[in-house]
């Protein structure tokens, strides 16, 4: 039993080490990064000349040079974040796929959030208001029903049929 515990503890520590090491994955200095290693970093970057084309897909000489820099940095053991920071320091925030969450850039993230909150609120208020203003008396409902273009005969028949079916399955 004690041995089992030790085994589990060993596995747990191993998993913990692996998990903790994920954010700081780098490449051992001197090892050769593969094309895929370079592309993994390159697809997160945009060169300022070739607008809106990620670096891993861009065929210009400038982008080829950038990929060369990424290769060299990976070979020196730099992490992905360090490489991205290097390009930001050289060319500004526009090399990143989206603006960093700081200062004025917060606006780009906050506006959609506000729009959806506002849209949700308007819908909620609208549904409540419509519900309140719906006629409650039988006469009122009949008047609306007569005005309602949805109440044509054929649709009414199908809807009645559907209602019957759903009542029947009670």
């Amino acid at each position: 039993m004690k041995r089992d515990m030790k085994t589990w503890l060993g596995i747990f520590i191993l998993i913990l080490l692996i998990v903790l090491s994920i954010p700081v994955v780098g490449y051992a200095q001197g090892s050769d990064p593969t094309d895929d290693d370079v592309n993994t970093v390159a697809k997160q970057l945009y060169c300022p000349v070739c607008e809106n084309i990620p670096l891993d897909a861009c065929g210009t000489a400038a982008c080829e040079q950038w990929r060369g820099i990424i290769y060299d940095k990976l070979k020196e053991g730099w992490t992905e974040d360090q490489i991205k920071d290097y390009f930001v320091a050289q060319y500004g925030d526009r090399v990143l796929a989206e603006p960093p969450k700081q200062g004025f850039n917060w606006l780009v993230y906050l506006v959609p959030l506000l729009v959806f909150t506002g849209g949700g609120f308007l819908l909620y208020r609208g549904f409540n208001r419509w519900k309140e203003s719906a006629p409650t008396t039988k006469e009122g409902k009949e008047i609306l029903k007569k005005e309602d273009p949805s109440m044509d005969k054929y649709i009414e028949r199908i809807e009645n049929e559907l209602k019957k079916r759903s009542e029947g399955s009670k």
Partner: protein, 672 residues
């Protein structure tokens, strides 16, 4: 001489347009039918007149008249005739003329309908259409003239003008620079006409909406009049977007189809508002609700069409500086500002008259669910609009340009698309006016059980990614609900009318054209969703430099580089074509021929992928164009794109659904 005819015709069209605007306004103000008829005749003439201009430019393009600057910039002697013809929309000036020509076609066509019942709307429809046309003609005549000649100054510099500037001499180059190689793909040949047809098509519903506001009519007539135009415009715009996606997949060589690029987004925004409009109109027609909303959405779609054209043409996307230097940017800004001011003023002054009496009585009623979908479309629209605009605002405010790329949009779009799929599940079962969640739940359980196959199958196949499982389940749920609903309608009909199955089926199809076409379109959307889920969740890629005989693995596929052939097809290209053998699960399944075409006139390479497509997946191989390609070593980038074919299959279903919706009904139904 031909250039003079083309330009002259362009100028006469502008004069006719201005006359038509004036005559229509005068006729409407003074209730003078003769002036209105005259304006109508002028509007009918703009299409044939612009056709003369278009034919003139086509003649110049096909016959290598390189003394015309536009022809020099977009064609060369080595291009085949069909490409020279498509070069009509291969550059700014030509595409603006093509835009105007298609708009003129729609404008002239709208005058051909019977106007007996809608005489009061006619002059204002003419005014709106001709003002839009006149604006684009002004751009073509004064800023982006496709008939400009090339003139050389004494100092050696070049000028482009229709008339000879002082101190210059005309030059006649013997060769042109040729069309951008990326635009020589079949997808790009068809994509712009579809896109433009979609754009100009939405101008017709807008003109009906504005005419209704001006005449202070509050009935639904404008919606009936514009229904067919809207659906066709929506179909063309959708096709334009999908063909653009297909072009990107085939030509851009990044294994994807949609990059949330500002130009793509500019076409996507009117599609979103147009889709919201089509949904809101359903509620308007069935329940008489949301008059204000439908009017706003119709106007918004038009504005987004103009806005999309504006930001892609004005240089605004590159930077605010290139916008300031752009010839057409400021003119566009004035036009779009005036349109917004007039539209908002008209809307606000008629706002109360457009209020509806009906109210939504149940959250789960069809109208309740549809209005949620409208809000979702608009939410995504605002997000995309903001994403496109933010880099410009950032540059203006803090002087730093930023990139708003795919991660930003995907974070918002993914839950919205999920929400829309849920609504596609609920809407076909919901009924108009009133529906309780209990009743809806009772109708849902059978399709729900069937939909679990959508989870069980991928789970059985070893898939454990929960987000993908939810997506597959929703896709299966939508398909199941629609299948159940169609089956139910046939059964109800058969039981009530005592007909045969076939007879019930054909009657249901004939009598439920709208709801069935909506179902078909929704089914097409989930088929496309299947392709999107496949590529977004499961795409894998690898890259490697191989010598002949070397292997590159990307499970479940493997490819072997066999050989390379470099040849000159005598059409202005040098082609480097590799032969790779493809194996799946260890078995040879075929050969692919990824290419690199280098266009001699522009020295620009284009990668053409080799793709093995099945319903399950695509194996997509490209020759990486920035690495040397030789027999000793060539660099390949390989993608495995599961289910992506369903994206294109969904397109065919979509086209079928919309055509079914727009197919003219029998007269009996029209009378009804």
């Amino acid at each position: 001489m031909v250039a003079e005819i083309g330009f002259g015709s362009l100028f006469i069209t502008l004069l006719f347009s201005i006359f038509g605007i004036g005559a229509a306004i005068y006729g409407a103000q003074n209730k003078n039918q003769a002036w209105i008829s005259s304006a109508k005749n002028a509007m009918q003439l703009v299409f044939p007149l612009l056709t003369i201009s278009v034919i003139s430019l086509l003649y110049l393009l096909v016959n290598n008249h390189f003394e015309v600057a536009y022809v020099h910039n977009v064609t060369s002697t080595t291009m085949p005739t069909y490409l020279k013809m498509t070069a009509l929309w291969g550059g700014q000036a030509g595409s603006l003329l093509f835009w105007s020509w298609l708009l003129a076609a729609f404008t002239s066509a709208v005058t051909l309908r019977k106007w007996d019942r809608d005489q009061d709307l006619l002059p204002w429809v003419i005014v709106v259409n001709l003002i839009t046309l006149a604006f684009f003609l002004i751009l073509n005549i004064f800023y982006e003239n496709p008939f400009n000649m090339i003139w050389q100054e004494a100092s050696g510099g070049y000028l482009f003008s229709f008339n000879q500037p002082l101190g210059t001499r005309q030059i006649f180059p013997i060769e042109g620079t040729g069309l951008n190689p990326l635009l020589r793909h079949p997808g790009m040949i068809i994509h712009p006409p579809m896109q433009y047809l979609g754009f100009v098509g939405f101008i017709i519903p807008f003109s009906f909406a504005i005419a209704t506001l001006i005449t202070r009519r509050t009935d639904d007539r404008w919606i009936q009049l514009s229904r067919g135009w809207t659906l066709w415009a929506w179909l063309f715009l959708s096709l334009g977007l999908i063909l653009g996606a297909r072009w990107a997949y085939d030509v851009l060589g990044w294994g994807g189809y949609w990059g949330w690029d500002p130009v793509e987004n500019s076409a996507f925004m009117p599609w979103l508002s147009g889709t919201a409009y089509i949904h809101a109109v359903l509620i308007k027609e069935k329940r008489g609700m949301f008059k204000q909303l439908t009017m706003v959405l119709s106007i918004l779609t038009y504005l987004l069409v103009i806005f999309g054209t504006f930001i892609t043409r004005s240089g605004l996307l590159s930077s605010v500086h290139s916008f300031a230097q752009s010839k057409i940017g400021p003119v566009f800004l004035i036009f779009i500002s005036m349109t917004i001011i007039i539209s908002v003023w008209l809307l606000s002054s008629r706002w109360n008259a457009l209020r509806s009496k009906q109210v939504i009585r149940s959250f789960f009623s069809k109208e309740g669910l549809i209005i949620i979908s409208v809000v979702l479309f608009l939410g995504l629209l605002v997000t995309v609009f903001w994403g496109v605009l933010f880099p410009i605002i950032s540059e203006l405010v803090i002087g730093q340009k930023v990139t708003v790329g795919p991660p930003f949009y995907e974070r918002v779009a993914a839950p919205i698309f999920g929400g829309l799929l849920i609504l596609m599940v609920l809407c076909p079962l919901a009924i108009w006016t009133f529906m309780s969640y209990k009743n809806l739940g009772k109708l849902l359980w059978k399709p729900f059980i069937i939909s679990l196959i959508g989870v069980a199958l991928p789970l059985y196949g070893g898939l454990t990614k929960w987000s993908a499982l939810i997506a597959f389940w929703l896709v299966a749920f939508v398909l199941a609900v629609n299948a159940f609903e169609i089956a139910k309608r046939i059964r109800v009909r058969r039981n009530t009318e005592s007909e045969s199955w076939w007879s019930s089926f054909s009657r249901v199809v004939k009598r439920n054209r709208r709801s069935l076409s909506a179902m078909i379109v929704h089914i097409s959307m989930v088929l496309m969703a299947l392709g999107i889920v496949g590529i977004e969740f499961f795409q894998t890629e690898t890259q490697g430099t191989l010598a002949e005989g070397d292997r590159l693995n990307l499970a479940p596929y493997s490819m072997v580089y066999q050989n390379l052939d470099v040849f000159d097809p005598q059409d202005g290209r040098i082609v480097a074509r590799a032969v790779v053998q493809v194996e799946k699960d260890g078995r040879v399944v075929g050969e692919l021929y990824p290419r690199k075409d280098v266009y001699i006139d522009s020295n620009q390479p284009v990668t053409v992928p080799g793709v093995r497509s099945t319903l399950l997946d695509d194996f997509y191989v490209i020759l990486v164009d920035w690495k040397p390609v030789t027999s000793e070593g060539a660099t390949f980038k390989v993608y495995h794109n599961p289910l992506v074919q369903w994206l294109w299959i969904g397109t065919y279903v979509f086209v079928g659904g919309v055509i079914f919706a727009t197919w003219p009904e029998k007269k009996k139904n029209e009378v009804n």
